[in-house]
Each structure stands twice: as structure tokens, then as C-alpha cells.
Symmetry: C2
Subunit: 401 residues, 2 copies
């Protein structure tokens, strides 16, 4: 097991130890937020046939003078219908938006550009060949690449696949997740707060964050400070789930139990402690094929390491190619005076003003367990190792939530 | 009914006709993405008691010289425990991170800053009063405002409320939504694509978008071009749901049926057609207390008006104070040559480069039904009424998806 490593080293170890889950086939309607396991190509042309873009009349356009041309209306065709009549030089077929262009016709004149006289139309405008026609395949050609492998599906992707008639897709399985909070001091909401106890906020914030990211939690548990019970629970869960998240029991005190708990399992510890603040106390283990990320019981530390380690791990399990943190740049709106030898993460609020991205700090108090900094925050500001503080106007890295 | 109105007028009409839904009480664990209906204040101090920030020894610190001071260890206290012994000038109590500070003590010295000699510690560092103590209420004071009314709850909010022991919250009811696609030309995926037919992509993209935004759809239906059947269905659903979304049947042709359908209901039409492109063909109606937004059958138009009208309507139903579109600015990465008398919306991809927000157009082909423009897009670029086109480098408004 490696100890006191950098964040990048931790991510590398995770990348080596976490694989994409198996592939399964699902109905398209259940495909939202799933990651496709293969390139997907258009099955059909879109539109699938030449169709009218307007309500009007389909006729043969010779690109000559059309004004005052008189054509006999011989049929009409609605969207969804088919017209068996053929347009000749002297005839036109009434056509609705979305209807297939009748045989022979090569243009559609809008209904407001003709005058109707009994069974005839008189053209009132010159138009060109193919005008007001959506040509078969002009939007998406059959066989063209719609989506690349390892793409997470959003609503627009689902719509594109539906338009091509694709109703089954191959995706990576969804990770099965378990959450265990630990600690004698932790009690659940709804119970009386006795002396020396605190409410279990980690359970609620972490389960909600998993919900925001679209993951389901299969097992939720709280275990008091008993390394044997914690170890047994983790061993059992490791046979059923892909990722186990624990909180608490990873500091250095006498009651820091997660290392002891892992020791009694069949698994191995991958790393212990990373050089960041908050969140340095984190233990990563692997039992069977299951990854265990043991976060601090301190809410701010737990939520920071969740974003840095748990979220990318879940993404790779779900089908992303690699474990990676997405960073952007923003202009800092106030000074950060404190120097730090460690890589630091501070809660912030990022906003676009005009076209520039700015960030301000939402943490107004200093301290490790400062929950209030999460109120109204939408990003984490990252301050690099061995910094001398930061000044208003500096460019900083941010990780959006 | 008002016709051919501006987008702002349409939003004003919606704002007048859409109210927040009723209020209900839910368990906190089910509170994600719900909108609170009242200000929420901290029920307790956080931390709820003075607690140790470190593993170490609690003692009485007089701010004088401490080095070589010798104190007898008389007890120890773990997180979650309570210590009944009182610290005196000559004694110390071993304390773990998160444990309550014993009576009498006013500082904690870290375990690495002492030397242990049998039952005694010898201090090796000068520290100040309150050092390594998290003072009761220093993070969040009892009675302070945690969340403002009408805020949509994210995972951090849920965690903050849990830390205060709040397990029931008052929120606005979730909107009940129905979706009806219409059109003889539309067939569902999984069926053979016959001549003149197209696959129903709107159903899949709109249901998925509702899923992304956290809304449940209670009824899903497809009805062919039969105004009576559509009208009856809408009338029935209007008694059960808060919002009905329809697609198709809102153009001007003979088979444009939604207006006819609404006419046979007990409801009223609020507006018809807005001066935007794509998506001008949209009908808004109200039956009983239910809003009906009838979007174009053209996928690009439907998805644009979804973002402009349906999403803000759902937000107000869910508890937002008003119907509003959120716009940001971005630097355009290519020319848009086409002039337009209408307000236009073009699919784009927005990205931060360094700290600047840039947008490029994902729509490479022109035309109304261009589904492919949605591939890899994450925003809609808005071009104002009566523009002369736009140039690379211009600032444009964008609406993020």
C-alpha cells in the first residue's frame, strides 16, 4: 500500500484498478445517462424520403418563368400518407408539410404563393428545383456515425437514436453502489441529539449527490466504531456491489478503524492518505473486484474527496475511458491570504459575467468541518501545492460540481 | 387568444397563468431537486458542542509558557462519548477528534506535540486558548438562515439540513406531466418504417429531457391526426396533470389539428405562434388548472420551444418565483451570415477556454428539421430580432442546456 501520495498518484492507482463494467443491452427509453459501449451508426436516412417542408403544391419545376403558370390539381397527400398519382408538366398535387414528394415532382410551391381557381392553381412566384423539399438523407445519411463509443447519452442523443429507429443499445452496466457511515458519535436525523453526538449529514449529502449524478445506491448502512463489524460488512458487500463508499474512521486516533476493518477482509489496501486539504485522510482498498473508498467523517473533507475520487471512479465503472478530473479556469474575486504546502480545495461559486468566468469563495469561516461553505457553492477552487496564497484577479483552477 | 407575439410576451402570459403548485411535507431523503416553500433556519448549533479538532489532550491553557509543563492524564474521551471528569490546572484528558471538550479544559494539544511519561504528558509546544477546539455554533449558529424559500435543493443543501437534524421539509408538489405525440406520419421505434413514415424521435428526446431535469411523466400517448380524439384526451388529462406537452399538428395546413382539438375542450387558448425561428408554431392553452403546451412536430423546433417555454413553466409549477429564461454571454467562434427579421435560435457548443466563454455552432446544415445539429450541442445561441447576421468574435446570448 502506498501512503501520503499526491492526488495524481491516487488517480493513477484508481485508473489501474478500476475497469469498465460489463456490457448489457437496454431499451433506448432507458438509455439516459448510460454510456454506450460501441460506435453507433445511422440505420436509415433522415429524412427517410424526400418530403415537403411546407404546405403547398408539388409540381415539376423547370427553372424557367413560372409566374401565371396554370396547373391542374389532381390529388392531395398528407404527412404519413402516400400518393400514387404522378405529377406531369400540366398538373400539381396538393401536399402538406412532412408528406412524401409525389413521383415526378421536383419542387413545392407554398400555398400562399398560388391562386386557386376551381381545380387549378396559378403560380405567383418563381422558385427553383428542390425548393421546399427536404431531400432524403440531407440531415443524416444512412451509415454515418451518430455517437462515438464511451459517450454518456443525453436527451439529444436519445432523440437522434430514436430518429434512426434504434430501439436497443449496448451500454456499460450501471455501477452498484453501497454506502456505509461509521462512528459512535453519529446519529440519524429523526432521533434526539444526545450530548456528544452529531447528526449524520454525510449520509444525506452523499446519497443525494449520487442521485444527482444518476447512480442508484443498493445498500445503505450505519455501523458504530467496531472494526470487525465494519470489515465483515465490507467483505459481504464486496461480493454484491462495484463500489463501497464509507465515511469516518480514517484519521489517526485510537478509534480510526477502517484500516483495521480492511485488514480482516480478503482485500488489499491500495493507498492511504493523499497530500490535499481537506480530505487527506482517505483510504482506498480493493476486495474481490469491488473498490472501497473510505472517506473522512468530516463533511467538508468527505464531499471534497467524493468529487476528486468517487465521482471519477463511478464514471470509469460506468464506461468512461479513464479516471479524470475536469478542470476549468476562472478569475478569482478575492484574495486567499493563507499560504499552504498542500494542494488545497476551497468551496466557491462560479459565474459568467459578460463572457468571463469568475469565482468567489463561499467559505467565510476557516476550519476543517465547515459545512456552511457548501451553502450556495457550485464549484471547488483548487490551489496548487506550495503556494503563497492567491490574489484577487489571479487565474485559478476550478472543478465544477 | 393572442397570436404572433414575441417570446417575452409569451413568457409574460405563462407567468400570469402558471402558479406554484400546492405545498406538501416530504422526508429530507426525498428532497433532492424539490423547491422549498419557506425559509429554513438552523434548529441547532453546528457543531452542537465544543469539540476537539484533533487527536490529543484537553487541558487548561493560560497562554503562558507551556513547554515542559507536566500534566496527569486522568481520563480519555472518544467521539460520541461523554467525559464526566473535570480538568484541573494539573491534569489533562486524552481526547479524540470529534469528542466533546471535557469540563474545565479550554484547549487541545495535538498528540504529536507532547511526550508521554507513564500517566503524564509533557507539553512540547506553546498553544493558545481555544486552539484545536471547534466552538459550538462556529460553523452554523442556531436560528441562522440555512436556505431561502423557493430554492431548489441540491445535495449540499440536503446535507446542511441533515446536519441541523431537519428530517421533514415543506416543498412545492412536483408537477404531474403528460406527453402526447400526434401525427399519422409518426411511428414508434421497434416498428417497421413504412413509406412516408418517420420515427417518433420527439417522444424519446422530450421524455429524456424531462428525466434529466428531474420530472416524472405520468401519461405517455400517441394519437393519430384526429382532432376529436386529441381534444378528448387533453380534456381528460387536464383533470389529472398540471402540464400537458403535445408535439405535432400546430402548423397551418389542413391537418393542423391542435387548435381544433382545444376548441372542443372546456379550455381556452392563451397564445398561438411566437416570432421565433425555429419553433414559431406553438399553441398554449389552459384547461381547468392545467397548462397545455403544443409544440411543433419538427424535432428541432420542438426541442427549442421545450427549453424556452416548457422548462420555465415546469420550474414555476415546481416552486420557482417566476417564469424566466437564464441567458449568458459567449464569444462566437464563427460567422453567422444569414440575416433574419426573426429572433433565431441555433444549436451550439459552449466551452471555457482559459477563463473566456466561447461558443461554436453545431448546426452545419441549414433547414428546419435538422436533428443532427443536436449532436454534441450543449446550448442554444440566441440571435436577436432584425439582425444583420453575426461575425466571429461577436458576443452572443446563449441558453445552456
Amino acid at each position: 500500500m502506498r501512503s501520503f501520495i499526491s492526488l495524481n498518484e491516487a488517480l493513477e492507482i484508481l485508473n489501474e484498478n478500476v475497469d469498465n463494467l460489463d456490457i448489457e443491452e437496454v431499451d433506448l427509453i432507458n438509455g439516459l445517462n448510460r454510456v454506450v459501449s460501441e460506435n453507433i451508426y445511422a440505420q436509415i436516412n433522415n429524412p427517410p424520403f424526400n418530403k415537403s417542408a411546407m404546405d403547398g403544391y408539388a409540381f415539376i419545376c423547370n427553372n424557367g418563368e413560372l409566374i401565371n403558370k396554370r396547373l391542374k390539381i389532381i390529388d392531395k397527400v398528407y404527412a404519413g400518407g402516400v400518393c400514387n398519382n404522378i405529377v406531369s408538366e400540366e398538373t400539381a398535387i396538393k401536399i402538406m408539410t412532412g408528406a412524401p414528394i409525389p413521383k415526378g415532382a421536383n419542387a413545392v410551391i407554398k400555398q400562399e404563393d398560388v391562386v386557386i381557381e376551381e381545380d387549378y392553381i396559378i403560380l405567383r412566384k418563381n422558385i427553383n428545383e428542390n425548393e421546399n423539399i427536404c431531400i432524403k438523407g440531407e440531415d443524416i445519411l444512412q451509415g454515418s456515425l451518430l455517437l462515438k463509443s464511451n459517450k454518456k447519452l443525453n436527451y439529444a442523443d436519445i432523440g437522434i437514436l430514436a430518429s434512426s429507429g434504434i430501439n436497443k443499445i449496448k451500454v456499460y452496466k450501471k455501477p452498484k453502489v453501497a454506502f456505509i457511515s461509521t462512528g459512535d458519535e453519529v446519529i440519524d436525523i429523526g432521533f434526539e441529539l444526545k450530548e456528544g453526538k452529531i447528526y449524520n449529514s454525510n449520509k444525506y449529502s452523499i446519497l443525494s449527490r449520487l442521485g444527482e449524478l444518476g447512480y442508484d445506491v443498493k445498500y445503505i448502512s450505519h455501523i458504530n466504531d467496531d472494526s470487525k463489524e465494519i470489515g465483515n460488512c465490507i467483505e459481504q458487500l464486496s461480493k454484491k456491489v462495484d463500489l463501497i463508499i464509507t465515511t469516518g474512521g480514517v484519521s489517526v486516533g485510537e478509534k480510526d478503524l477502517l484500516k483495521e476493518a480492511i485488514d480482516i477482509t480478503s482485500g488489499e489496501k491500495l493507498f492511504w492518505k493523499i497530500n490535499i486539504k481537506p480530505g487527506s485522510a482517505v483510504l482506498c482498498s480493493k476486495i474481490n473486484k469491488s473498490i472501497i473508498l473510505s472517506l473522512s467523517g468530516n463533511p467538508t473533507a468527505a464531499l471534497t474527496t467524493f468529487e476528486l475520487l468517487v465521482k471519477p471512479t463511478l464514471e470509469k465503472l460506468s464506461g468512461y475511458k479513464e479516471i479524470k478530473i475536469n478542470r476549468e479556469k476562472a478569475i478569482l474575486l478575492q484574495d486567499i491570504k493563507k499560504k499552504s504546502p498542500q494542494r488545497r480545495f476551497i468551496r466557491g461559486y462560479v459565474e459568467i459575467d459578460n463572457y468571463r468566468q469568475y469565482v468567489h469563495i463561499t467559505q467565510t469561516k476557516s476550519g476543517n468541518g465547515i459545512l456552511s461553505s457548501a451553502i450556495n457553492s457550485n464549484c471547488i477552487i483548487e490551489i496548487e501545492v506550495n503556494n503563497d496564497g492567491k490574489s484577487k484577479g489571479d487565474l485559478v483552477d476550478i472543478i465544477k460540481l
